[in-house]
């Protein structure tokens, strides 16, 4: 009949939850016998680790099923496709240091935030993978996520198209600064938020305040070429089009037009003062 096993009785569960690499090694069967037993005892008594184990096993099962149902792709063609999607080929266009005879900037931005491609233009010519990764991050998706995390639960109204466009612009700048400074982007976002004006009633004003602060940080990190690539300009254009207040719409349009005016990076003070003017216009 059933009897308690000595190995279970003598092995106390580890007090801390399993690290990801420990659980992964457990699942791949590479832990030694003692470590595996300790992990088992912990999983048996820890609902969180048990849930993580079960869900990870389901995910791996699903991945194996998906892999079995489609032909394998070699990595380099995939990377090439990703690079193309992220606009890496347009990189040199946006970096004066690498392309002195740069072609024209993108056409006048659309009025809808949804009209922009989900993957923003890449911003560095460097082969640095961190830069490539940040370039491939989707600020619009980040902005939507930030909203659902930070605002929805506090009872704020959903963001308007204009607010969404501005938030996207802010994240563009955050990412640009992070990429230039190789900073921890989460920490960066916190610093930007801490530097922004106190939360205002209108989400757009708050995001615009963040954009001003992001601009200052971008200036400090010397990411001048970023503003020439049209991403922030597109966000500002969409925000201006959706802005009901004529004064603010005019100020936002002015900044967008200033950014589109010529191929040279605009002076930081001009961009900043335009944004601040838009912020004060309401």
């Amino acid at each position: 009949m059933l009897s308690a096993r000595p190995s279970d009785v003598t092995t106390a569960p580890p007090p801390r939850c399993l690290e990801a690499d420990e659980l992964a090694a457990f699942m791949d069967g590479t832990l030694d016998a003692a470590a595996r037993q300790r992990a088992l005892v912990h999983i048996d008594g820890c609902p969180d680790c048990h849930e993580l184990l079960a869900e990870s096993a389901r995910s791996l099962d699903a991945q194996a099923g998906a892999a079995a149902s489609k032909p394998r792709l070699r990595p380099w063609p995939v990377l090439a496709a990703l690079a193309a999607a992220a606009g890496l080929t347009a990189l040199l266009v946006h970096n004066p240091a690498h392309s002195p005879d740069r072609p024209g900037l993108p056409a006048t931005p659309g009025t809808s935030a949804e009209a922009r491609p989900s993957t923003p233009p890449a911003r560095l010519a460097s082969a640095d993978p961190a830069a490539a990764l940040l370039a491939a991050a989707d600020p619009a998706a980040l902005a939507r996520h930030a909203w659902s995390d930070d605002e929805a639960s506090r009872g704020f109204a959903p963001p308007s198209e204009r607010d969404q466009a501005l938030m996207t612009g802010v994240y563009q700048v955050d990412l640009a600064v992070g990429e230039a400074a190789h900073a921890d982007t989460a920490d960066l976002r916190e610093r930007v938020q801490a530097g922004a004006p106190a939360r205002q009633k209108h989400q757009g004003a708050f995001e615009l305040g963040r954009l001003v602060e992001s601009t200052r940080l971008a200036a400090a990190a010397r990411t001048e070429s970023f503003f020439a690539d049209g991403s922030v300009r597109a966000a500002l254009g969409a925000a201006a089009a959706a802005e009901p207040d004529p004064g603010r719409a005019r100020a936002l349009r002015g900044v967008a037009q200033a950014l589109a005016a010529d191929a040279r990076p605009r002076p930081w003070t001009a961009i900043q003062s335009g944004l601040e003017q838009a912020l004060r216009a309401r």
């Binding site: 059933l2 990801a20 090694a25 079960a54 791996l60 640095d128 961190a130 990764l133 940040l134």
Partner: protein, 276 residues
């Protein structure tokens, strides 16, 4: 430090398609809509570079990178779900039925929404493509939850004496006592198993994993596991019968509204009881 590649940035650049694939799979399997899946992919990428590639620096090559990324991103996904929906342990039934059932259970059982409100929240606010009939079917299958609360003596004094329903209360109490006894016997039987055996049973019957997925989770060969699970059920059944509990009685006796201590334990036991 990493065993094979000391440069996490290079590793990431090389394995970006794998990262995206794993992130998308985790989000899709968690019930995310296509838009949300892409958001999760973006956040997964950022997580990899945050804090100077801390996640990748912790990868020591003790497992495949796919397994490691799956665990890391699964934890990220679960953490985000807790942040968004709050901490809530789904019932075994909801876990077996999938993410939509887990969400329905949260709205109905934890948040106390009516069926109409829950369905509207799911379909209008959260974008689940869930026909009303399917919603009703899932909702009907979810076990009820009874919230126990402590009351002070003053409140107890205001409770009226047993009236015409006293007989029904006695029956209910007897049933609860019988269930508690059965529950104790099952706990006792489970305590006689090894940790690995308990985890196998929980993964199979509480979480509803296929035998193949259980084998994958525990790095065990799949074929012998079928027989092993059968033997475990037989042992458990025999241990219960020794204590006067027949396996067939378990489902009839163990209702989740019975007053057991600890919801998770109750669910574990209920799910296992159904299996025996």
């Amino acid at each position: 430090m990493m065993a094979s590649s000391p440069d996490p940035a290079a590793l990431l650049a090389q394995q970006l398609p794998l990262l995206d694939e794993v992130a998308r799979s985790v989000a899709r399997r968690g019930g995310s809509r296509p838009d949300d899946q892409e958001e999760f992919v973006a956040r997964a990428r950022l997580r990899m570079v945050e804090d100077d590639y801390a996640v990748l620096r912790k990868f020591e090559g003790r497992s495949s990178l796919r397994t490691y990324l799956t665990v890391v991103l699964q934890r990220l996904f679960l953490d985000e779900r807790v942040r968004r929906w709050g901490r809530w342990r789904s019932s075994a039934v909801a876990r077996r039925m999938g993410p939509a059932a887990q969400r329905i259970e949260i709205l109905l059982r934890r948040d106390g929404l009516s069926a109409d409100e829950a369905w509207q929240t799911l379909t209008w606010n959260e974008g689940w493509a869930l026909p009303r009939a399917e919603f009703e079917r899932v909702a009907a299958a979810l076990p009820p939850r009874v919230r126990h609360r402590q009351v002070d003596e003053g409140e107890l004094e205001s409770v009226s004496a047993p009236g015409p329903a006293a007989e029904a209360e006695v029956v209910a109490r007897e049933r609860a006592e019988q269930a508690e006894g059965t529950c104790r016997a099952l706990r006792c039987a489970l305590a006689g198993l090894t940790a690995e055996e308990r985890v196998i049973l929980k993964l199979r019957y509480q979480d509803g994993l296929t035998v193949g997925a259980v084998a994958r989770a525990l790095a065990l060969p799949e074929k012998p596991l079928f027989r092993r699970i059968e033997r475990l059920r037989e042992r458990l059944r025999a241990a219960l019968e020794q204590q006067g509990v027949r396996g067939g009685d378990l489902v009839a006796v163990l209702g989740e509204d019975a007053p057991y201590a600890g919801a998770t334990t109750t669910e574990d036991i209920h799910a296992l009881g159904q299996a025996i």
